[in-house]
Symmetry: C2
Subunit: 359 residues, 2 copies
C-alpha cells in the first residue's frame, strides 16, 4: 500500500525523504520516528539515536502540509500590509521578522495596495496557510473583515482603531504626536502654523489632523489646513500653494515624505528653512535625518510595534489570551528644520520624550 518515495542517491535530484524512508532506514515504525522527532513521550535511547541518525543521513524534513493537516497548525504568521514599498513598511517587517525567527515562525507576506477587495481576498487565501495574521489596513470603513469569525484565524491589527473582534491591536497615538509637534512649533515662536493633511479616509492621518487642531485651539491660534495624500509630490504641491498666497511661518506635514516634498519645493522657491519657515513631519523615517536641514518629526517605534504584534500573534496561537489594545507614544524629535540655532552635530539625536496631551 505504501509507495516508496523516489530517493535517488546518485547525482540525480533527491526528492525529499519521507518519514517512511526514515522509519525503514532506522528499522522502526513511522510512529516512533514521529515521536522521536517531536520530542514526545519516552523513546528508548538506542531507538532515538537510530532514528536521529537515519533522519540526519537522509536529510529528512517533515512535509509541512501533511503536518498541518494533522495538527491544524502551520507555524506561519500571515502579514498583510497596504504596501511593501518604503521605509515605514521595511522597518515594520524587520521588527516582525526579528520576533518571528526568534520563535521559529515563518512569515507569509502579502500586500493589498490599499485596496479593500484585494485585502479581503488575500486574507481569505491565507486562511489555511497561517495560524494567525498581522494586518494593517489604515483606511476607514475597512473594519468589516477585521474579524476572527470571517477570517478563521486570530488576527492582530496595526494602526487601525481596534476594530471588530481582532485579538489585539497596536496603534500609534497620532493625536498626541501631532499635538506635541504643533506645541513645539508654537512655543518656539511660530504663530502661523499650516498643516498638510494625509488622505481623507486614512485613520492615522485624521488623528494627526485632530491633534493639530486641538493644539491650535488650545493655544488660541488659527487653523490653516491644506490637503495632501502622504506622497512627496503632494507635499511639493502644498508648499507651492502655501507660498503663493499668504505665507505661514511654519508647516507641519502629516508625514515625513510630504515634509520632504515641501522642503524641496521651498528650497527651489528660494525660501529658507527654518529661518523663514519652520518645517516638521511625522514618522521619523530614516531619510528624515539625512535631508538638509534634518527634519523635525514625531518618531514612532515602528520595528518595536512589529515585534510586539508578532509576539501577540504567537501568544494567541499558543492559546494565551495576550491580546489587548496597546497604544504607542511617538517621541518628538527636534532637528534643524525647526530650530535655527542648531549646531551642526545634532542631526542624529532622538531626544525629548513626548509631553502629555490628554486623549
Amino acid at each position: 500500500m505504501f509507495r516508496g518515495s523516489s530517493l535517488w542517491c546518485g547525482d540525480e535530484p533527491v526528492k525529499g525523504a519521507t518519514i517512511h524512508d526514515v522509519a525503514r532506514a532506522a528499522d522502526v515504525s513511522v510512529a516512533t520516528v514521529s515521536r522521536t522527532l517531536n520530542g514526545l513521550e519516552t523513546v528508548a535511547q538506542g531507538t532515538r539515536d537510530r532514528v536521529l541518525r537515519a533522519a540526519g543521513e537522509l536529510d529528512y524534513v517533515p512535509h509541512s502540509g501533511a503536518r498541518a493537516l494533522s495538527t491544524r497548525r502551520t507555524d506561519t504568521i500571515g502579514v498583510l500590509l497596504p504596501d511593501l514599498h518604503g521605509e515605514f513598511f521595511s522597518e515594520l517587517i524587520r521588527g516582525i521578522d526579528l520576533a518571528a525567527r526568534a520563535r521559529g515562525l515563518h512569515l507569509l507576506l502579502s500586500s493589498s495596495h490599499g485596496n479593500l477587495a484585494e485585502a479581503e481576498a488575500a486574507l481569505r487565501s491565507m486562511r489555511s496557510r497561517v495560524d494567525s495574521v498581522i494586518a494593517m489596513m489604515p483606511n476607514a470603513g475597512e473594519q468589516p473583515l477585521a474579524s476572527d469569525r470571517h477570517l478563521g484565524v486570530p488576527m492582530v491589527l496595526i494602526g487601525s482603531n481596534g476594530a471588530a473582534d481582532a485579538i489585539g491591536s497596536f496603534t500609534i497615538d497620532n493625536f498626541a504626536g501631532a499635538f506635541a509637534i504643533t506645541k513645539h512649533l508654537v512655543s518656539s515662536g511660530r504663530s502661523r502654523v499650516a498643516f498638510v493633511t494625509g488622505p481623507a479616509d486614512n485613520l492615522e492621518a485624521s488623528e494627526r489632523l485632530r491633534g493639530y487642531r486641538a493644539a491650535m485651539r488650545s493655544f488660541g491660534s488659527t487653523e490653516w489646513i491644506v490637503h495632501g495624500d502622504f506622497t512627496e509630490e503632494s507635499g511639493r504641491r502644498a508648499a507651492a500653494h502655501l507660498t503663493h498666497n499668504d505665507t505661514p511661518d511654519a508647516i507641519f506635514c502629516a508625514n515625513d515624505m510630504m515634509a520632504i516634498g515641501c522642503l524641496e519645493a521651498l528650497r527651489e522657491a528660494g525660501g529658507s528653512v527654518p529661518d523663514d519657515i519652520a518645517l516638521a513631519g511625522f514618522d521619523d523615517v530614516p531619510i528624515a535625518r539625512y535631508v538638509n536641514p534634518p527634519l523635525t518629526t514625531a518618531a514612532v517605534p515602528i520595528a518595536e510595534i512589529g515585534r510586539q504584534a508578532l509576539e501577540c500573534c504567537a501568544d494567541a496561537i499558543g492559546g494565551g489570551d495576550a491580546g489587548g489594545q496597546r497604544s504607542f507614544q511617538p517621541q518628538l524629535v527636534v532637528r534643524a528644520s525647526t530650530s535655527s540655532s542648531s549646531s551642526l552635530r545634532q542631526d542624529h539625536s532622538r531626544p525629548a520624550e513626548l509631553g502629555e496631551t490628554g486623549s
Copy 2:
C-alpha cells in the same frame, strides 16, 4: 467514517468549511466539487452552479496543506535575503511582490542576517513549504548550498555569481558600474580618486573594487584604497581617514550609505562637496537624491530584478526552463555631488546610459 467538520452557524467561530461540507450542501460528490472549483473537465452547468453557490455560502477555502499533499505544489515562493532592513531590500521585495501577486503566488519571507548557517536552516525549513526559492547570499563561500539537489526545489540566485546548479541567476554588472563612475570622476577633471571598499567577503563589493581598479589603471591614475564595510559609519570613518592625511579630490564609495556617511563627515570637517571633493556612491537608493548635495551614483533596477527573479521562479515550477544568467547594467546617475555647475533642479534625473566597458 467521515467526521463532519464543526461548522457552527450561530455567533460562534466558524472553523473553515471543508470540501465535504460543500459536497453535502450541493448534493454532489467531493470529486465533483474539486473538479468544479479547479475548472477541470466538463461539469454540467446546473451542477456547477449548485457547487459554486454552496461554496460561496459556506465561504469555502480549500485547505492548502491538503492540496499541497496531493498536488505537490504550494503556490508559494520562498524568499531568502541577508536582511530585511533598508531601502535596497525593500525595493527588491516590492518587485518580487508585484510579480507574485500578478501570478497569484504567495511569498514566504525569511532573512539570514548574513549568517550562512541560518541561511541553510531557513532554506531547509522552506523545502516543503515552497515550490521555488529566490535567494540572495552575497558572501563568498556560500555556494555549497546553492543547489537544487540540497534544497529540493528550484532556486534562483540574486547577486551571487551564478553559483552551483541554481536554475537562474540575476546579477548586477558591478564591474561596469564602478568603471563608469570612476571614468566619470576622472573625466570631469579629478585626478586623485580614492575608493572606499565594501566588506572583504562580499562579492558585489569586490567586483566594484575591481571596476575601480581597472578604470584607474586604464586612465593611468594611481589607486587609492580605503576599507569600509557598507555601513554609513564606515563611510564616516573613511572620510576622516582620508582628510587626515593627503586629501583626494574625489571619493568613490562602494555603496550609497557609505557615501552618505562620508558626506556628513566631510561637511562636519568643513570640506565642500563637490568643490573640494567630488563624491559618488553605488546603488541609487532613494535617499541618494535627498541628501545635500544629491549623490552621484550607479543606479541598479532593484525592483525590476526582483520581478524578473520571480518570473523565473514561476516559469521554473511551471516546468519551463526559463533559467539563465542575466546581468543588469547599472546606469550612471550624475547629480550635484560630482558636478559643481549643476542647476538646482537636476536632482531627480536618471540620465546617462552606462558606457561600454568590457568585463
